[in-house]
Amino acid sequence: MEKSLNWREFVITRLIKASGYSAILFVALIFFFLVREGIPTFKEVEASSLLNIRWYPIEGHFGILPLITGSLIVTIGAGLVAVPFGIGTAVYISEIAPRWMREILKPLVELLGGLPSVVLGFLGFLVLSPFLRVFLDLPTGLTALAGSLLLGGIAVPTVVSVAEDALDAVPRAYREGAWALGATRWQTIWRVTFPAARSGVLTAVMLGVGRAIGETMTVMMVTGNAPVLAVKLGSLFSPVRTMTATIAAEMGEVANGSTHYHVLFFIGMVLFLISLGVNIAASSVVFRAKKRAERILS
């Protein structure tokens, strides 16, 4: 009896361990594959032409700068929409809303998170971009701004649900302590609850940004996909082409093993490194914040 229990315990712990390690394995494998397919780029295309500003792969123009800046400007715009909006919603749901309101809002936000991005892209194409063109008097509504607004909308549910969980996890005693000291509701939220949940909120922001930078279908439909270098503020109001949309639009047609194929994988590598960078930055900030919190408590 004892023996079989041990044996079962052994199998179960190993299985759990294996599934934990498998995440590392998969990331490593994906990266290995990207590198294997992307590295030949350096042999086939000179570094100077990769840093060119012309992306026209069918005639051998492989400048990826417009794509990188396009992705960045759309993602930053999405962040500017999703972060204040998402955190505000999370604070409202967790701290201010009455119980019945909360019961309605939470599932609604989760439902929003489940909307397929292609549906949002369709709405954006037919409703949002014509509206933006008329409202802002732009030449066309298919701009980085339209992409940012929609991606912001897509990232909001992620930000809300993670940030709300973090705020919810702050012990009730913290708030009661603040109220007992005469703090107003806003002071309690801003000075006590929010800092206590900071690492969770930061994770929420990073997950939201990660969701935005990797999103493909929506941006492909609404950003116009013109590979223009987007470095000015005005670029937000003109069409851009993102890395994800480029890979999605062009991967289907390239011949296996051609230069264009390798460059697309190289773009995938760049995308991977950017999200890795964002994640590392986030976790190092969270880690430092935790350390400091521990010092204060002790």
Binding site: T140, L142, S238, A249
Partner: protein, 301 residues
């Protein structure tokens, strides 16, 4: 050992009935049941036409299944090269590199002209511009002309719309219009040309945006958009695209549409291609707004 024999027979019979079951209803397909399935993929320009053909052909020949998908000419040809389709649709000629690549995969691409198509240049009905020369369109798309007032329209910025680079229409437009058919010309699309992933995208944007100019296969242009009349040269006649103007070559942006097979087609694939070139199927071509491939007019009875 003996007791296995009935089992083996049962199995054999089962396998036989399963493999021949659906096909046995039709006599001609029984010889090669796997070939009763035709995989057809490629050009988005052709996809509606290919679908209409496939539907008609399948209703006449219920034993044959034809699966039609789009994705662009490049996608179709790449699939033919990789050996995953029987018929690749393309709105451009296969490139030399693609022929070589196919050969190295043991595939010999054979070309069939199945219809002709005119590329219509479209603008919003609100746009007062009715006619342009080829040179003007080339200058618009290469970025030399950026305002409608330069070609006789209102003072509005021009928003250039194009299909993605994997589209055969894109390549054809680049070679025939932007470069005016010259091989040495290395003009490219202006960098701020919007590359939309579908024909529908271009039409939807042109419909609601009076700044926009787009191009698309004539078969795709709805009635509520304005088609531009085009002159080959300054001072020449401005011609609207239609079946007669494509056939008498007075409309300058028209091209052949192709299907590619691996080697000369045989069996049901040959029957299908023969049917496509017959008058019944070419009638569908005209109904969908394309131009029938029957270049020599059929003798009138």
């Amino acid at each position: 050992m003996n007791r296995f024999i009935p089992l083996a027979i049962t199995l054999l019979v089962l396998v036989f009935t399963v493999s021949c079951g659906p096909a046995s209803s039709s006599a001609e397909a029984a010889s090669d049941s796997s070939a009763a399935y035709i995989e057809n993929k490629g050009s988005d320009t052709i996809v509606n036409l290919a679908l209409a053909w496939a539907e008609k052909y399948q209703s006449d020949h219920p034993e044959i299944r034809i699966s039609v998908t789009g994705g662009g000419s490049g996608t179709g040809i790449a699939s033919l090269i990789n050996g995953t389709v029987d018929l690749a649709n393309a709105s451009r000629k296969i490139k030399d590199e693609e022929i070589d690549e196919a050969k190295s995969n043991g595939i010999e691409a054979v070309e069939h002209i199945i219809a002709r198509d005119a590329i219509a240049v479209i603008v919003s009905p609100e746009n007062p511009v009715n006619e342009l020369t080829l040179k003007q369109i080339s200058d618009i798309y290469s970025g030399k002309i950026s305002n409608w007032s330069e070609v006789g329209g209102e003072d509005r910025p021009i928003v250039r719309l194009s299909r993605e680079t994997n589209s055969g229409t894109h390549v054809y437009f680049l070679e025939t219009v932007l470069r005016l058919g010259s091989k040495e010309d290395k003009t490219l699309f202006s960098m701020d040309t919007l590359l939309l992933p579908s024909s529908e995208g271009i039409i939807a944007e042109v419909r609601q945006n009076p700044n926009a100019i787009g191009y698309d296969g004539l078969g795709y242009v709805p009635k509520d958009l304005k088609t531009i009349a085009i002159a080959e040269e300054e001072g020449g006649a401005y011609v609207l695209p239609s079946i007669p103007t494509v056939n008498d070559k007075s409309y300058p942006i028209a091209r052949d549409l192709y299907m590619y097979t691996d080697g000369e087609p045989t069996g049901i694939l040959k029957e299908y291609l023969d049917w496509i070139l017959a008058p019944e199927a070419q009638q569908i071509v005209a109904e969908l707004g394309f131009v029938p491939a029957l270049l020599t007019p059929s003798p009138s009875p």
